[in-house]
Amino acid sequence: MRTNSDGDAAAIGRIPFGPIVILVAAVASTLLLAARPAQDRHEVRMWTFARLHHQIYQQQVAEWNVAQTPRIDLSLLSLLAIEQRMLSAFLAETTVAELIEVERRNAARAFAGPLESVGFVDLTDRLKAEGLDQAINPASFSPWTTRGRIFGLPHDVHPVMLGYRADIVESAGIDVSKIETWDDFAHVLGPLMADRDADGRPRRYLLNLWETHFEVIELLLLQAGGGLFDSDGRPTLDDPINADVLVQLAVWCAGPDRIAADVPYFSASGNKLLLDGYVIASFVPDWMCNIWRNEIPQLAGKVKLMPLPAWKPGGRRTSVWGGTMLGISRTAANQEALWEFAKYLYLSPISARELYTKGDIVTPVRSLWSDPVFDQPDAYFSGQAKGRMYIELAPHVPVRHSSPFGAIAADRLQTAAISVAAYARRAPGATRAELLSEARRALAVAQADVLANVRRNSFVRADFHEEAGQ
């Protein structure tokens, strides 16, 4: 027995090429980095998670830095990195940016402790004193509100419409203005699902929806008047409205008269299916217009928007998807100046225009909705004045109540939706009452699970805590 190293005797003593290359790289890169000019350090750091926001803000931040103090250093970080650092800072007092722009689910995780320990500055009194609580669309505050206190300045409203393939719909002679409810939607567009080649399956489906699309399911619950939490932070998964929506979802996705198909949002495969016209309509919040425009430019002039069909006649024609806030870190110095900057960045007329023209996002400031920029026809959406359409729906956006347990509730709701759809597939002849019974069962399990988690938190809501234990 011997080792290979015996055979490497010839190599011993000489320095191989590899280490020399790495050594040279180490020395050269060290010298080059040492020669880098020292960076201009700003007084205040601001983190954002969205490339689009970063692009939009750069000009405004540069102008602020020329004319005002403190000087802002804007950084783009991944959402996960922001969440981790934010929570580390709030819980263990590590370093954090003075201004943090964060998405609603991540922000809610910071609301788990006692109110006085939330890492963001409580903005409630400032907002009320300056009348901003009235100037801003009320529903936009709800994701940043916990136990009646507001911890973030809202960035958006994010009403939702249906984006549909106008080229296919109109060439079939269908008039979408006849659609008022979801039943109308299935009835009016139904002919588009005709199985022309008689292979037992249609070439296309009407709706981009699946039991795994959690965010879409949540927006449907909210549109119907349901939701995951009430204003006290109490889980409401077992709400009867939620059960009705899950039943309809199962009928659409897994029933014998299925109209929905799985076209994944935010994915290359999903974009390809949209391009191929595999589904007629998708859920499109204002921000998604920008994604479609950039990722699927081939759909320009082929798509249009329409309000969501209501659950019942005269019902709500929109919902809400996504949301961003700007928070001021509680440990930040000079909070008055940071508040001024936050208002400049989010609430000025110039910001509202930039946000819409570059990002298709509608400002939450109601007085700015009269800007003619929102009336301009959008060639991508076949000449529709989509800004105005979203603004008309904005006051009807449902309120979403935040909770640090939002991620758990979302997960359990997803499980319930999958369970009901699976039941519908196992029993194709199941009646609506049977599906409803399954939905109630699955949601009761979900509710109990989320409640069990919430009960462990002694800060979120002391009074409902006791009720939950009963």
Binding site: T3, P16, I22, R51, L76, P297, Q298
Partner: protein, 290 residues
């Protein structure tokens, strides 16, 4: 006899051809995604979902060459990809050099030096190998914060400077490649421990040095999590983090993302092609054969 030899030669040729066919198929499986990546980095958004490799057209080979673009690479340059590449080279090479030297010294000490607490040190090194690095992220972050090393290059290099796996690897390499008699002879000639390490042990474990340098270089180059957590200033981000930042929360610029991915793997591919002999000889130098 001649006929048998001819038959044997024929079957050898057939076997060789079969082996080559399998190897070619395997190589194709590996190289096709790379070709797709290169094509994707050159395509415009309009063509991204409508063509599998290159956009079809009336040009040479049926490709619409005029539709290809270098815009994604230009955008990358504007986003500071060059600076990120330099930082990646710095972090990977300096960490590789420091970690290899520290691990080689530590391994030599554990293998050939006698000192109080050696057994305990060996046990600690072995125990450290068992702990998954991800588990150390949170306490490591807290420690770096207390030391004031967050958002610094030192905060990335120092924790990686003495990897337990490397120390143990070099301990084993020293035990198998550095005879104690040689060290005793060197000591009789007046050689101290440090001289013995640099003049006797290090040359004898040089194949392992090459391999470990490469392993550490590759590991640091590809490391995303630690720089993402420790660094906070975007101008200090290495390639792995910079490329990850190209991925939006919802909106994706696929061409840009593919171009970024290509830029981040190209230097590694080049390095491996240049140094593959050193790398493989280092990896096999400790192997045992009968």
């Amino acid at each position: 006899m001649i006929r048998q030899q001819a038959q044997s030669a024929d079957s050898g040729r057939i076997g060789g051809a079969l082996v080559h066919a399998v190897l070619l198929a395997s190589a194709a499986l590996i190289i096709i995604p790379l070709i797709w990546l290169v094509c994707a980095s050159l395509k415009r958004n309009e063509d991204f979902f409508t063509s599998r490799f290159l956009p079809a057209g009336s040009g040479f080979l049926g490709v619409a060459w005029e539709r290809l673009t270098l815009d994604h690479f230009r955008s990358l340059a504007q986003l500071g990809i060059g600076r990120a590449a330099l930082i990646s080279v710095f972090l990977a090479s300096v960490t590789a050099v420091v970690a290899t030297m520290a691990a080689a010294m530590g391994g030599f000490a554990l293998a050939r030096l006698r000192f109080p607490g050696r057994r305990l040190a060996e046990s600690l090194v072995l125990a450290a190998i068992i702990i998954p690095p991800t588990l150390l992220l949170a306490p490591g972050y807290q420690l770096l914060f207390q030391l004031g090393l967050l958002d610094t290059m030192a905060g990335l290099i120092l924790p990686a400077a003495a990897p337990a796996f490397g120390v143990y690897l070099f301990r084993q390499a020293t035990l198998s490649s550095v005879p104690p008699q040689l060290l005793e002879a060197a000591r009789i000639d007046g050689c101290g421990d440090i001289s013995a390490f640099f003049k006797i042990a290090l040359p004898l474990v040089m194949p392992m040095v090459s391999a470990f340098l490469m392993i550490t270089f590759l590991g640091t180059w590809n490391n995303f999590l630690t720089p993402q957590v420790v660094l906070q200033t975007p101008s200090n981000f290495p390639l792995a983090v910079t490329v990850a930042q190209l991925r939006g929360v919802y909106y994706q610029e696929y061409g840009l993302l593919m171009a970024g991915t290509l830029v981040s793997i190209a230097p590694l591919l080049l390095l491996f092609l240049l140094l593959q002999r050193d790398f493989i000889s280092g990896l096999t130098s400790g192997a045992v054969k009968g």
